[in-house]
Amino acid sequence: MSDPVTAATPDIASLRARAARIRVSILKMLTAAGSGHPGGSLSAADILTTLFFAPVLHFHADELDWPGRDRFILSKGHAAPVLYATLAELGIIEADELLTLRKLGSRLQGHPDARRLPGVEVSTGSLGQGLSISAGLALGLRMDHALGATARLPQVYTVLGDGELQEGQVWEAAEFAANYKLDNLTAIVDRNMLQIDGPTEEVMALGDVAAKFASFGWEASDVDGHDIEALYEALSALRRVDMPRVIVAHTHKGEGVSFMRDEVGWHGKAPSAEECAQACGEICACSEGGDAR
């Protein structure tokens, strides 16, 4: 992987192809598993693609415990398939292993298990905790950096679901990160507008998420969460010092698959073999020149 600091403008077309491959992997592994969460995995695919392959993260797939690495924490742990597909693209796990998702003995648990799978920084799955963990990690990395442990201050990136923001602990963490001026912390909210019981604005209205974070003392912005170029610009922009940063990525649940897009029913249901074939066909057709296996 290239160093983001010296990297030229990323090749957006190849990143789109990468995102398409990740989406196809998500669908295939969920179909093999027979259960799981396609909607919120597909909505986050462009975000993880940008983070890992534009790339935004300083990260070496062949040295997972490199102390200087940027950290990624998937707070919305039910979107595990998008993380596993990304780890497969990075060569950290074999493509074949994706088909063991949710099976007895698999390293690919229904929600990420850091004890089983290298490349997962911490186990997640119980919503509302990732931002607190990320904030504590960002603070710890800053303490060590101040003592000269790392040449460059490692960054922490976490992806939260929008429904997850209903957990009160997220706002405890929001206070904390602003209070400690954690300017090596970036939260990305996958604002796909749907949760299990229905639209977020009907279940428990969230309103203007960026404004809420801004009122807590965060640098906040909105971005089209499926526009890789826009995501990269937002993530690589010079950030304000002394402030944590949130990027509200406006997305569609089930993005890339016509019959899943914005459909609440596809939050936690695996596609059948036929549905998977149709979905993968759509993704391949749409990815411009992408090599969708």
Binding site: S132, L141, A173
Partner: protein
């Protein structure tokens, strides 16, 4: 001499940091009470205050441990275990992180604050979590040992600390090991297996029983998980009668752990001295120990019942 086990927290953290350990403490607006503030005075950058937000406290500690720190958490036992239970289960234990819960103000000896603040279920809550180790020290020196043991052993720990002063039983030379109980007094008629403030009460009870020619063995089961089953079974096999003594609900704590061990290894008569599935209430620590049947006379009564001797 009487000193609270909580006093060990700040002092031990300072010693650990002085010794070069990469230790941090996270507290939730109770740093003065838990004594982590004393650590913060010496190492201001290593005390992380989260405000009144215990769930965040546990996960911030989890994050700090991911950065390589040995992360202690404070708050009171009722909030630092119960209120943040899911964070302890799903993040600290499930990821097997180097987080050491050392909340203070456990049990009825919290005193006047009353039932809302007297945590009597924490041993039970922590004991059932895979990967969690549970230590309940009886005095200031053993609290320091427990905290050092937790700091130097990788993975999750719960060290239960109290607010009130307790008699000093050990010296700095006494050595504690994970999973090893201490036999403080040998005896052959009844085994008094205690933890925390109840160890002093059990010793006092043993004196009273000795005056009646009943030889009681007193065991400090400071490591509740892992439990020293060998010492407990060996003692029970010799005495044939066991009384457990704990400042905790009789459900789920030391009494339950010992009952589980005895039922499988050496079934024998057992009585559990502890809080009888109730909440606490306001009062002074000594009054409350008496009121809830946790003092030496209550232990004596249980021992006499097992020995089939009429009281008085």
């Amino acid at each position: 001499m009487s000193k609270a086990t909580r006093a060990a927290l700040g002092e031990t953290l300072i010693e650990l940091a002085d010794g070069g350990l990469d230790v941090v403490a996270v507290d939730a607006d109770l740093a003065g009470s838990t004594t982590t503030a004393a650590f913060g005075k010496v190492y201001p950058d290593r005390l992380v205050e989260v405000g009144i937000a215990e769930a965040n406290m546990i996960d911030v500690a989890a994050g700090l441990s991911l950065a390589g720190k040995v992360a202690f958490t404070g708050s009171f036992a009722v909030f630092g275990t119960g209120r943040a239970y899911d964070q302890i289960r799903n993040t600290v234990c499930y990821s097997d992180l180097n987080v050491k819960l050392a909340p203070t103000h456990a049990g009825v000896t919290v005193g006047p604050d009353g039932g809302s603040h007297q945590m009597l279920e924490d041993i039970a809550l922590m004991r059932v979590l895979p990967r969690m180790r549970v230590l309940v020290p009886a005095d200031y020196q053993s609290a320091k040992s427990a905290l050092r043991l937790a700091a130097h052993t990788p993975g999750p720990f719960f060290v239960r600390l109290g607010r009130a002063g307790v008699p000093e039983l050990y010296t700095a030379e006494d050595d504690f090991e994970l999973g090893r109980a201490k036999v403080l007094r040998a005896g052959d008629k009844v085994s008094l297996i205690a933890c925390g403030v109840e160890v002093s009460a059990a010793l006092e009870a043993a004196d009273i029983l000795a005056a009646r020619d009943i030889s009681a063995e007193v065991i400090d089961a400071f490591s509740i998980k892992p439990l020293d089953t060998a010492t407990i079974l060996e003692s029970a096999a010799r005495t044939g009668r066991v009384v457990t003594c704990e400042e905790h609900n009789i459900i789920g704590g030391l009494g339950s752990a010992v009952a589980e061990t005895l039922s499988e290894g050496f079934p024998c008569p057992l009585l559990r001295v502890g809080v009888q599935d109730r909440f606490g209430q306001s009062g002074e620590p000594d009054e409350l120990l008496r009121f809830f049947g946790l003092d030496a006379p209550a232990i004596v009564e249980a021992a006499l019942r097992l020995c089939d001797v009429r009281k008085m």
